[in-house]
Symmetry: C2
Subunit: 413 residues, 2 copies
C-alpha cells in the first residue's frame, strides 16, 4: 500500500529555522513494527507556553483527553508522539497507557509529568504497550537536537507520502520571531493508517491564553476548512508551543489577546497553518486534484462554510472532478442539500474564472472547451455565488479516485 | 457504462395485481435519445386522492415545485414521468416547460391541468423541450392499460440495473385492498443518470389528508432511512395515489388519520415502501454489499438516526465493507463524528451477531475468523449500542467500491 509521492506534493521543502528552546529526537519503540521510526520527542525549555485544538469527536482518544487536561495550566516541557497505535477506544487501559507514557517521559527528561503533551496515531482499539517507551525516551533525551524538525516530521508519518513542514517569520515589537510546524494526515482518519496531527513551535514570548485565542481563530480558516473524505479522526490534535526565547533578544511578552503588536504574528500563524492544512489535502488518499471551493453571497459566513463543505464533501462532486468533468449540476445538488438558504434563480457557478451557470440556469455564453481545459489541471477552483448576502467561505478538498477506494478498501487484494 | 444487473437485485419479481382505477402506458418522446422509452403516463379514475413527499433540497426541480402546489387540493387524474431530462436548475424556462407538459397532458386525457402530477429525471440544467410530449401523450392515453405497471417501471429507469416494483395487500374494514409501487434510483442523485422517484397506487378509499399523514410517517423508516452516497437529488419525489375503487366492493372511506381500521393498510404501506427503498440501495451505483446499520441505546430516536447515517455515509466505513474488513475502529470514528451524545466507555459494536467491541474497548472474546466469514456475505449487518437511552434507528446503505468512482467519474475513459 506504500504509495508514490503524491503528484500534488510541494516541489521543494522550505528552509526550517531552528527555534530557540526547542529540540527534537526520533527513535524506534517497536510499537507496531520493529524496524521503523515510530516515536518522536520534542523538548521545550522551561517557561514554554502551550495551546491546542482537538477533534470534535465524541469518542476522542486517550491522548486527546490527556492534552485537554494539560492545557488548563498551559505549560509545556515535552511532547511525545508515537505512530503505529492511536491509543483510541482503549478504555481504562488507554488512560493507564497515557499516564505511563507521561511518567516515563518525566523520568527521562526531568520535566514534571503534567507539562508533558502526548499524541498517538495508528490502529484504533488495540491497547498501547507504553512500557516500550521506557528505554527509548532516555536515549532521545540525550540526543535531542534543535535541527531535528524535518526528521521529526518524517517520524510521525503513516500513510502520508511526504513529510509536511512549514516555516514563517514575523516581527513582534520590532524583533524577528520565527515559527515552524509539522503535520501528518492523508485521510481525515483511517485506523491502521491516518489521522491529523500538527505541531507548531515559536520562540515568541506569548502567554498561553493568547496563544489559545489566536489558534482557535486561525484554525477556522485552515485545518477546519479542509476535508479529504468528510471523516473525522478520534485523535486530531493541533498543538502550538511558544518558548519565549525571543524575549532575550528584546521581544515583548504578550499577555493580552487584543495586543496590537500581535498582528504580524497572527498573520504568520495563519499563513503557516494554511500551508500545513493545504499539504494535508495535497496528500489526500488517492488525490490527483487539489480543489478550492469558494462560496460568496451567502446569508452568513457560517452558512457559506456549510455550503462550501457540502460541495467539498460530495462524493458526486469529487468523482466528477476526478473525471475532469465540469459537472455544475452536481454543484447545484450539493448547494441544495446543504439545508442552508439558497435561491435557485440567484445562483451563479464558476469553474476557474469561467461562469458556467447563473440566474437559475446554464450560462448561455459558457465555453465548454475552455472549461474542459481548466479541468485537466492539477488545481481546480470552484466558486458559487448565492446572491443573497455577504457571507463568504473558502474550503479545500481533493478529488475522489479509485485509489482512495483501493487504499481504504483493498484489504483482501 | 451500462452495467450488468446488480448482484444484490431480488432474485425474482413479485406478482403485480392490477389496481382498479389505474392504467399505464409508456412511449418515446425523444427527450434525450431518439430510440428509448422515456415517458410514462399513469391515468387515474375520477376521485383519486393524492399525497406526496419530496426532496429537502433548497434547489428543487420545477416538477417538484409543481407537484407540491398540486397537493394542496390533493386530487389526481394523471401522472406524467419522463427520463432524459430532470428539468432542474432551468429557471423560468423550467416553469414554462412544466406548465406546457401539464397542458398537453390535460388536452390528451381530458383531465383538469391542476390534477396532473409530473416528475422528471435526467440531466440537470438543460431546458426540457416539453413540446416533444405533444403527439406522444395522445397515443399513450389511447393505449393505457391496467396491467402496465412493470413496463412503466422500466420506462423510468436511468442508471438502474433492474426495474423496482413491489406489491402488498391489506384489509380495510374487512375488504381486501391492494397496493403496488415502482421506484427508480441508484445514486441519491447523479445528473445525467439518477435521482429517486417512487410511485405507489392503491384502490383503498382514503382521503388525501390521511394518505399524506401516513406517507409522511412511513417514509421516515423507508426512503428517509436509506443512503447510497449521501447526496440528495433536486428531484426526489414519492407520490401515493388512492383511486378509492375498493369502495364499490364495500371498503369504508377513511377520512380520519387515527381511524383504527387503517392499521393493516399502514403496515402494508410500510412494508411496500421499505421493499422499494431497499431495492434502491440494492441497485446503488457500484454496490456489492447491502448493509443494515442499527443503532440502539441512543439518547433519542433522532440521535440514533443521525448516528446511524453518520456510519452509513462514512466513506471509510463503506470502503472497509467493500474490502470485507470488520473495521470497527471506523465505526467508532463515525459514531464520534456524528456530534450526538456518545460515551466511549459505554459503546458496543456488533458485526452480524458477533460483538467486536464493548465498554470502550475491543471485545476480548471476539472471534476474528467468524467475523471475516460474515463480512464475505452479500448482506452485512452492523449494530451499535450506545448504552445511554432508548433511542433506536435502522438505516440501510451499500458499500463504496471502485465501480462507484468509475460510474460517476470515468467521463474521459
Amino acid at each position: 500500500m506504500a504509495a508514490a509521492i503524491s503528484p500534488l506534493a510541494p516541489k521543494s521543502f522550505p528552509e526550517l529555522p531552528e527555534i530557540a528552546g526547542v529540540r527534537f529526537a526520533t527513535g524506534t519503540a517497536g510499537i507496531r513494527c520493529k524496524d521503523r521510526t515510530d516515536v518522536m520527542l520534542a523538548l521545550f525549555d522551561k517557561g514554554t507556553e502551550a495551546a491546542g485544538v482537538f477533534t470534535k469527536s465524541k469518542c476522542p482518544s486517550a491522548p486527546v483527553d490527556w492534552c485537554r487536561a494539560r492545557l488548563l495550566a498551559g505549560k509545556a516541557r515535552a511532547l511525545v508522539v508515537n505512530s503505529g497505535n492511536a491509543n483510541a477506544f482503549t478504555g481504562k487501559a488507554g488512560v493507564e497507557a497515557v499516564k505511563l507514557t507521561a511518567a516515563l517521559a518525566a523520568k527521562a527528561t526531568g520535566a514534571p509529568g503534567n507539562e508533558i503533551f502526548l499524541a498517538s496515531t495508528g490502529v484504533i482499539g488495540e491497547p498501547l504497550d507504553a512500557a516500550k517507551f521506557d528505554s527509548v525516551l532516555d536515549k532521545l533525551f540525550a540526543r535531542a537536537d534543535p535541527d531535528g524538525l524535518f526528521e521529526a516530521a518524517k517520524a510521525i508519518m503513516t500513510t502520508d507520502t511526504f513529510p509536511k513542514v512549514a516555516a514563517a517569520h514575523a516581527t513582534l515589537g520590532g524583533v524577528e520571531v520565527s515559527l515552524t510546524g509539522m503535520a501528518k494526515g492523508a485521510g481525515m482518519i483511517a485506523p491502521d493508517m491516518a489521522t491529523m496531527l500538527a505541531f507548531v513551535f515559536t520562540d515568541a514570548p506569548i502567554a498561553a491564553a493568547v496563544l489559545q485565542s489566536m489558534l482557535a481563530k486561525s484554525v477556522q480558516t485552515s485545518f477546519n476548512a479542509i476535508t479529504v473524505d468528510s471523516d473525522t479522526s478520534t485523535s486530531d490534535t493541533l498543538l502550538l508551543f511558544a518558548t519565549g526565547a525571543a524575549a532575550k533578544r528584546g521581544a515583548p511578552k504578550i499577555v493580552a489577546p487584543n495586543d496590537r503588536r500581535l498582528a504580524p504574528f497572527k498573520q504568520a500563524l495563519d499563513t503557516l497553518l494554511l500551508d500545513l492544512a493545504h499539504q494535508v489535502v495535497r496528500d489526500g488518499e488517492g488525490a490527483r486534484k487539489f480543489v478550492e471551493v469558494q462560496v460568496t453571497g451567502a446569508a452568513s459566513a457560517a452558512s457559506a462554510k456549510k455550503i462550501a463543505f457540502s460541495i467539498a464533501n460530495s462524493p458526486l462532486v469529487k468523482t466528477a472532478i476526478a473525471g475532469e468533468d465540469a459537472n455544475w449540476g452536481r454543484i447545484v445538488m450539493a448547494v441544495g442539500k446543504a439545508g442552508e438558504k439558497a435561491e435557485r434563480d440567484r445562483l451563479a457557478i464558476w469553474f476557474g474564472g469561467v461562469r458556467v451557470a447563473h440566474k437559475g440556469q446554464r450560462d448561455p455564453a459558457y465555453d465548454e472547451a475552455k472549461v474542459s481545459t481548466l479541468m485537466r489541471a492539477d488545481e481546480i477552483s470552484i466558486r458559487v455565488d448565492l446572491g443573497l448576502g455577504k457571507g463568504e467561505a473558502k474550503v479545500w478538498t481533493c478529488d475522489l479516485t479509485k485509489d482512495y477506494v483501493a487504499i481504504n478498501g483493498d484489504y483482501r487484494s
